[in-house]
């Protein structure tokens, strides 16, 4: 069983490393993500609009704040569900 698990992990890791070579280089201005029109918008407008230098945070908490509120609610609900299902009562 342990050998099987090791083989699965090794194959998955090899596939991930192989796929990693297809990622655009760091800071490549010709990559698809950089050429997308929204990228230019966020690079130019995120600091004046949200006041946050970190574009990732500006997207996460400001532009997609509703989505992040949902994520937090999902984590909260998951925690509460585990608590209800697994918590042992003091008898």
């Amino acid at each position: 069983m342990k050998t099987l698990a090791l083989v699965v992990v090794l194959i998955t890791g090899a596939m991930l490393i192989y796929a990693g070579h297809d990622l655009p280089a760091f800071g490549d201005i010709n990559s698809t993500a950089y050429q997308a029109p929204m990228t230019q918008y966020f690079i130019e407008k995120s600091v004046p609009e949200s006041g946050v230098p970190n574009i990732v945070t500006a997207l996460l908490a400001s532009y997609r704040g509703y989505d992040t509120l949902g994520e937090t609610a999902v984590i909260f609900t998951a925690g509460m569900a585990v608590m209800l299902l697994l918590r042992r009562r003091e008898t």
């Binding site: 949200s50 006041g51 946050v52 400001s62 509703y66 937090t72 984590i75 509460m80 918590r87």
Partner: protein
Amino acid sequence: MSKIQESVIIRTVVRIMVPFIELFALYVIMHGASGPGGGFQGGVIFGAAIILYAMIYGIANGKKKMSDSLDRILASTGLTIYAATGLACIAFGGMFLQYRAVPLLSDPAQVSKYLIDLVEIGIGITVLAVMISLFFDISPPEPEVEEAEE
């Protein structure tokens, strides 16, 4: 008590490291706006500090640091901070989570920055409380209560 919990080296290192891990977690949460970091990451680091303490000093001592009731209160408080920030924007005439609408400072971008920090703190509180509660939920019950070395 397992062998790893008896080791003096591990107990001492954990006792020294836990405050620094917690401080680093607060730094990651507060630094989310200006650099790598944020509420999710910082909350997980803070939760990991308490979990590390509970692993070495025992579940009962861990629950003294973070009791079940405090855990429940914190988990809902974080989500409430986030939702209340969004609702406050409505109260000041904006849309839900439209931070610029809150007239706290003259520059709307600055208001947005501080409210994003507030939202990140809310996320962090919820994530750390849920992390710790998950660990306590799946941990085996520990009959004997053993005092922590202060």
